[in-house]
Amino acid sequence: MPSAPKNRSKLIFLIFLLLVVAVAHVAIGGSSVPSSELINALFFKNDVQLVWQQIVWDLRVPRMLTALLAGASLSLAGLQMQTLFRNPLAGPDVLGLTAGAGLGVGICIFLGISFSFFIPLMSLFAFGGAFLVFILILPMTRYIKDQTALLLIGVMISALGSALLGILQFTSGSDELQSYVLWTFGSLGSTTYYELFILLAGLILGIILAFANTKNMNAWPLGDAYLKNLAIPVKRARLLMIVSASILTGITTAYCGPIAFVGLSTPLLVRNWFRDFNHENLIVASCLCGSIVLIVCDLSTHLFSAHVAIPINVATSLLGAPVVIFFIVRLKKISI
């Protein structure tokens, strides 16, 4: 029978868990806000010291929402890339989009384009870099019919981007180098509400494209010959997956830096937990799970030290790698 109903309870559990970790994220932070003040600041706004108000509304809530949106975006991008390439190794960065974004940021920093007070400018460059790679990849998808070949081209583009970055790094001063390294650590705390809106718009667009493509993604494991026989528009479906993943990865990387791991591991865990053929459920579950994972990772950045939060990229790998290794060892293999 159709597998949809059997996983509904899992989805409800994920929604509940997301609410819990979201509240926990706002409640726990670098400075301890008294719980009464926290509730006041969140819901009643009056009668609260300005400093609590600022901590909650200007720092923690946007940070939590950034983690929520970025986690969902990266996870959904990863899900689509794994489906497209029929390969569990595929993640949102496989097409070289992250490398493109990194190159954009590198150019921005190393060429001394005044970044210090222009965080948005850096984001713009990151998005520009990712978009450029996307424009480069797009015509190739028309001629290269083999998914694995496309995957390899993505890896090559990443290598090319790293090489160009290497030149920039080698010839630049220590200040610029530090700024760039800081960007590669990822950041969830520097987003404004305006930028949150763009992240949200990107996520919604990505989700709409993914949902429109559900039927095609479900049939995708059958391979091109069966797809053609079933009147599935193979080229259009492929384009939709690439466009959706590019938007999701590009925008997230632009605002939060190259956040590793979430996009690769979350959809894998979702697939192996849900064992659901229908992408409709996988899309929702991946978004929810991605949000939860990134929020938890961000929460953990405070746990290592009372005074300094470790970079988010360190946390995702530090927490994510053992979890994925554990799952692979337990399942003996992992596949899509």
Partner: protein
């Protein structure tokens, strides 16, 4: 009915054109199980894919192929591997209904009925909720056939559906295909290497030979000697039923007896390289109902006879 005239099949490889089938005429009638035979690389798969509209024919586009491809009246069972650890047997079969579904994949009553009918007809009720990577090769092949059946098409093309299956599963698959053709009037075209199964079960054979397709009843193709020509190294002569063995030992053996015991004794001797003659002063085997006699020696198995003869030859 589906006809294509003067179809050339092949592919282009680095400026070169590889011609596999040269201007062949094909005709497919309803209710027939057709087995497509031919050696490896002769173009069986390419022909199937060309007829299915998945591969361009060499001589331009072909209207009847295009119309078959676009009419959603053709279902396929191919050798392509399906990579999914989250698809159940039911899920895989349900993809057959995708041409009729909207983007949200809402199965209508009609779709569910078609899926359930296919599952019941192929006999997959017990495993319909199992994951496809957990079932056996034979069950997976049956699942793919059920998928093709659920597509409710007049034509089903199958590319080597019996490869990697054991003898019983091969027979099951072919019997199922034949009954689908006869029961529902479907046209079923199967490429296969199973000459024996094809001879037993096919309504019609297509034999790819010398870039042409020889088309006919299995028996006609046997009698015309075409199958013996197309498969010269199969080890036996189809027309006469004779096994072909090269006499490797210059030893002549006289054999007296009748019935199937005679036939299998002869087979064992010839396979080992001996020649059977009318008269031999050296070895003369007499076959009785439960034993073999050479002179005064009596034997109960062919193995012991062969051993005896070997020892005699060494002794002299």
């Amino acid at each position: 009915m589906f006809c294509v005239d003067k179809l050339s099949v092949g592919y282009h490889k680095e400026e070169q054109t590889i011609l596999l089938l040269n201007e062949v005429d094909v005709i497919l009638k309803p209710g027939e199980l057709i087995c497509l035979l031919g050696s490896n690389g002769c173009g069986k798969s390419t022909l199937l894919k060309t007829l299915a509209g998945l591969h361009p024919p060499l001589n331009g586009s072909n209207e009847s192929i295009n119309s078959l491809h676009q009419s959603n009246n053709l279902a396929l069972v191919l050798t392509e591997k399906i990579v999914s650890t989250s698809a159940t047997v039911w899920d895989l079969i349900s993809t057959a209904r995708y041409p009729h579904l909207n983007w949200r994949i809402t199965f209508q009553e009609k779709d569910l009925q078609a899926i359930q009918f296919a599952i019941a007809r192929v006999g997959l009720n017990n495993i319909q909720d199992r994951f496809i990577h957990e079932i056996s090769d034979g069950q997976l092949q049956l699942t793919l056939i059920a998928r093709a059946l659920a597509q409710e098409t007049s034509f089903i093309f199958l590319d080597e559906p019996t490869a990697h299956l054991d003898l019983n599963n091969r027979m099951d698959v072919m019997l199922l295909l034949r009954s689908l053709a006869h029961q529902f009037g479907k046209t079923i075209l199967v490429s296969t290497h199973e000459l024996d199964l094809a001879l037993q079960l096919a309504d019609r054979l297509w034999v790819v030979y010398n870039q042409k397709i020889e088309n006919g009843l299995p028996e006609d193709l046997v009698l015309s000697g075409l199958l013996d020509q197309a498969f010269p190294r199969k080890g036996f002569d189809l027309k006469t039923g004779e096994m072909k063995y090269e006499p490797t030992k210059n030893i002549h053996i006289e054999l007296k007896g009748e019935g199937y015991r005679y036939l299998w004794t002869k087979n064992a001797l010839q396979r080992t390289g001996y020649t059977i003659t009318e008269f031999s002063p050296r070895f003369s085997i007499i076959i009785s109902d439960d034993k073999w006699l050479i002179g005064d020696n009596s034997f109960t198995t062919l193995h012991s006879i062969l051993h005896f003869i070997e020892q005699e030859i060494i002794r002299s």
